[in-house]
Amino acid sequence: MSNIEKWLESNTFHHGEFWDLLELVKMKEKKDLKISLCIPTLNEEKTIGKEIVIFKSELMDRYPLIDEIAVIDSGSTDKTRETAAAFGADVYLSSEILPSEGFKRGKGENLWKAIYQLEGDIICYVDADIKNIHPRFATGLIAPLIQRDQMQYVKAFYDRPLAFSQGVRPSGGGRVTEILVRPLFSLFFPELTSLIQPLSGEYAVRREVLESIPFPIGYGVETSHIIDVYMKYGLDAFGQTDLDQRVHRNQSTLDLGKMAFGILQSFLNRMEAYDLVDKLPEMSNIFRQFQAEGNRYEQVLKEIIEEERPPMIEIAEYREKFGLKKPKK
């Protein structure tokens, strides 16, 4: 069994495995862990109220799994902060946290400042634009960290379409993941292709990890994290949890282009940081995608060799046919 297969077997979860919240709360208390939920926001008045209500009711009042719910806002001009505060979230303006470091506009900025502002040993980040919010969006990510001390970084993925006709179905991330990130990882960090949705905005991480890695403030924050955590702790530090369906706004292709551009910048930055730019590892010819059967995920490997032909003018027969001289080298 390859390392990837082993990891998929042992470190990929379904949120349903963590249904027993009472047991989880007990284990958390026994291990004396403090857990913070951080929601980065910018103009999310439509969905923020519901997220706070659901998380506070289910994971603070009913089952005290989370110690604080914090909204870290980039300066919304709608009622995001007011609504979140009305339902009992701690609301912070990103610009007012750590003022000595200044303020940069971007989601990564809020995630970074959360490490300073929040108290938790584990910080769980959840995006604010989820329409079908449910406690699983936090419990599915926090639970593996409570249960397994060696695990550092648990990512969400979303699968399980409502209907599919055959046993085996293609599975994977969004468009930017499949078109940009997966090919890049397949080429340079094949093990990281085990993450089904490396770009998902929901993940729970231990403080020791968060405080020791840099944070791109824009689109590249997740990609950069994954590479850093991988280089420092290896694949076993990651876990991933299937959270079923996530309903959110769809982005336009132009927006995805901007996202891809930011991610590529961050990726190349990391390559530079690890001194890999002029010493590129040997590129793999294996492209790794996913398929799923029920709740079992496996990679589908495809060898893609981009062979190359020389310019036609270098071919003797061609020059002869058209009466050309050999080009100067």
């Binding site: 439509k46 289910e58 339902f87 079908n132 309903v247």
Partner: protein
């Protein structure tokens, strides 16, 4: 303590009830959201019912079960347990599976299809044990909490009907809860016939000789004749035309048209008389126009009432008055009729203010909800206290 003294003391506690319930705001709202986001069309209530039972389990209720018509039930034992009070909310909603059930939460209100009718009513059931605990209220009687399925439209109250006919525990009183409107106080049920008329015109109809252009015209003639039926103001009687469906284009006369309507009256026998008149109209149109038409009766209710001066109604009015809410006395055609039919003294209460009922942006206001829930609990306490006196 006499009944009057008990009530007086209880009314004085209502502002405190409201304050304490406010501390459970997120718990209550979370249940409304979660119930509201589970589609629950009539005959497909399984998922909501499962949610209700999970909550009942978390609350430690007894005898939690799902019966053969998908009712959810749980029992909250009273301190004495000599009597049983039924608290019922219908679990089905008018919206089908395919539509977007997302609920929006603002600081003032909750918005989403079916949020008032009846996600909030169901939430009263799932949260009631916690609400009572937080208020320190212990009832002498057992509470039977019932999520009643198959209530609306073609469901024709099948869930509650099944429960009242087969319940192993007899109950001496019942309160039905609906999301809106706060102040609603129903203690009587109207006689009602819910009917559907279908008109079918032949494809190759000789329109020239009959001067009809399709099923819409044929149905319109029927409607005109129905509207000419005289309905008395007292006792209140009405014919409600609920929907007309027909046709697909601008210029193709349809061959089929459907009319859905209800005939309602407070007077026994009146509904049947009006329905017979409508059947006659149908016969006349069939004969005159050579169309094919049928009428199906989808639901029937008999009128009933416990009366304005019944002790439960009096207590409920006093409670509303103490909460500064104007009672809106209106007869019901839903759950109450099944209960009154079985001679079970019953009330229907509304829990909050809301708008856009049965639209996609159905909305309920958060703040009045706490008065509504305080009202429900105080009403149950009054009923509980009155058992000894009966």
């Amino acid at each position: 303590m006499s009944n009057d003294e008990y009530e007086k003391a209880l009314l004085a506690k209502l502002p405190e009830y409201r304050e304490k319930l406010l501390s459970l705001r997120e718990r209550i709202l979370a249940d409304v959201v979660m119930v509201g986001e589970i589609p629950s069309p009539t005959f497909e209530e399984e998922k909501v019912v499962q949610f209700i039972c999970n909550r009942f389990t978390e609350e430690g209720l007894d005898q939690i079960s799902i019966d053969e018509v998908t009712n959810a039930t749980g029992l909250l034992p009273g301190t004495e347990g000599k009597h049983n009070i039924l608290v019922a909310a219908h679990t089905d909603r008018i919206w089908q599976n395919g539509i977007d059930h997302t609920v929006t939460v603002t600081s003032e209100s909750l918005i989403g299809p079916g949020i008032a009718d009846n996600a909030l009513g169901v939430t009263a059931l799932t949260t009631l044990p916690t609400l009572l605990k937080v208020l320190g209220v212990e009832l002498k009687s057992n509470l039977i909490l019932l999520g009643a399925s198959r209530s609306m439209g073609r469901g024709d109250l099948e869930g509650l009907r099944f429960f009242t006919e087969n319940a192993k525990l007899p109950f001496g009183a019942a309160v039905c809860v609906e999301g809106i409107q706060l102040g609603r106080l129903s203690y009587s049920s109207l006689g009602m016939n819910r009917c559907e008329i279908q008109v079918i015109t032949p494809e190759k109809h000789d329109w020239e000789s009959w001067s009809l252009t399709g099923a819409i015209t044929a149905l319109t003639q029927i409607v005109q004749r129905i509207l000419a039926i005289e309905t008395p103001q007292v006792p209140k009687t009405s014919i409600i035309l609920g929907s007309i469906n027909s046709g697909t284009s601008f210029n193709l006369p349809p061959t089929q048209a459907t009319l859905r309507f209800e005939v309602r009256s407070e007077e026994p026998g009146m509904v049947t008389r009006i329905r017979e008149q409508i059947e006659e109209i149908l016969e006349q149109n069939i004969a005159e126009n050579g169309i094919h038409a049928t009428m199906e009766i989808l639901a029937r209710r008999r009128p009933g009432s416990i009366g304005f001066s019944h002790p439960y109604v009096r207590s409920a009015r006093e409670i509303l008055k103490a909460l500064d809410i104007k009672p809106q006395v209106a007869p019901s055609t839903s759950e109450l009729s099944v209960l009154l039919d079985k001679d079970i003294p019953s009330l229907t209460l509304g829990l909050t203010e809301g708008d856009n009922k049965h639209k996609l942006d159905e909305a309920i206001r958060i703040k009045p909800m706490f008065s509504g829930l305080a009202q429900l609990i105080a009403t149950l306490q009054c009923i509980d206290n009155q058992f000894e006196d009966e």
